[in-house]
Symmetry: C2
Subunit: 214 residues, 2 copies
């Protein structure tokens, strides 16, 4: 792939999905797949698939399909899953705890290294093999350890202040589970996650489906 | 809004985001907002906003902006957040438990009514005010209670079988947190949620950002 070529965010957002489906195909021992077969599995149109995969170039051959292994490895490499990231978690409540115990993080290269909270009853609590530390230790920790990504799972009222603290300490990426969206202008990348958004979409689609049946 | 008009899924997926931002504006007592102001807050282009909101029609006025309250209420109504849904959870593990305790479900109209699992050590466990039941009770429960949406948070190996069971019992919507995507052809709506997908996108964007700084 020509690394100077800019891939659009819309394509980037679909990459994890290609990654998952290609991994399944690879595990099933399938060596080649056509855009039509991939389309049927993934429920994306074949033309969308061809267009997306053309961004990386050179993997499809007319009438012969894509090499599953080559494409899988290329997407893995584009996504940077061949490198490992060091994560800290701020907020060891309900969602934070679930993320701390989520085994798919480390299998995809994301290693949780420290957990912080402010609530006295949570400090010292063991989550997997990590002990929840007081947020007052955060600065010291970040100054003495490499941190790539901070997970923020804190209440609305604490989000902005903690995000500024994290960014001020030089952390360049935030995976934000807090109720408020974060936006930083430069040098910091953010993913704002709102679990209920997809449930609202599901509710809408259910309503429309039931209307069409009536 | 002309209810016969079909709104595209791309617009539907952005609706929860409009909903959240408009709710904030409404709470702040702001009565009108221009597409430019909304664009700056939401980090979506003003032209995208105008295009999206035109789908519902009649809320914008040239040089005068949108009525926050009218738009907020309209989106709330389109998303069906003025109705309540009854949910069951299958899988009381790590992610399932976090969802069961997630307060934003009921505040958005999604009431969790029963929890099922297959693991003996989880049966009888209390999650908020619900007791985890054995999956063998599922059929009986669904036959005697209204269920709109099933949350599936189970391992890969159990996903397909449980999804078929759920659909066989007449449930029309699945919020799927299992590692495998579900696709049903007709009458069933699905939202497949993969928490790590957005972390992979974050990892990619971090990598690109660091490259551009170097």
């Amino acid at each position: 792939m020509d690394s100077s070529k800019k891939i659009s965010q819309a394509v980037i957002r679909r990459l994890p999905r290609y990654y998952r489906y290609l991994k399944d195909l690879y595990r099933e021992g399938i060596s080649r797949v056509s855009s039509k077969e991939l389309s049927e599995r993934m429920h994306i149109t074949a033309s969308q698939i061809r267009q997306d995969l053309n961004c990386f170039g050179g993997f499809g051959q007319q009438g012969y399909g894509y090499s599953v292994e080559a494409l899988f490895k290329e997407i893995e490499s584009i996504l940077g899953l061949d490198t490992r990231y060091k994560l800290i978690l701020i907020g060891a409540g309900n969602i934070g705890s679930a993320l701390a115990k989520y085994e798919n993080l480390s299998t995809r290269g994301f290693d949780l290294c420290a957990i912080f909270d402010v609530k006295e009853e949570l400090i010292g609590k063991q989550l997997n093999d990590l002990m929840v530390q007081h947020i007052d230790n955060l600065k010291n920790y970040v100054m003495n350890n490499e941190v790539d990504i901070a997970i923020l799972a804190v209440p609305h009222s604490a989000t902005a202040k903690l995000a500024e603290l994290v960014v001020g300490l030089g952390i360049k990426a935030i995976w934000n589970y807090s109720p408020s969206d974060l936006h930083f202008s430069h040098d910091v990348v953010i993913e704002n996650v709102h679990l209920v958004d997809s449930l609202m979409v599901l509710g809408y689609n259910l309503k429309e489906k039931l209307k069409s049946i009536d």
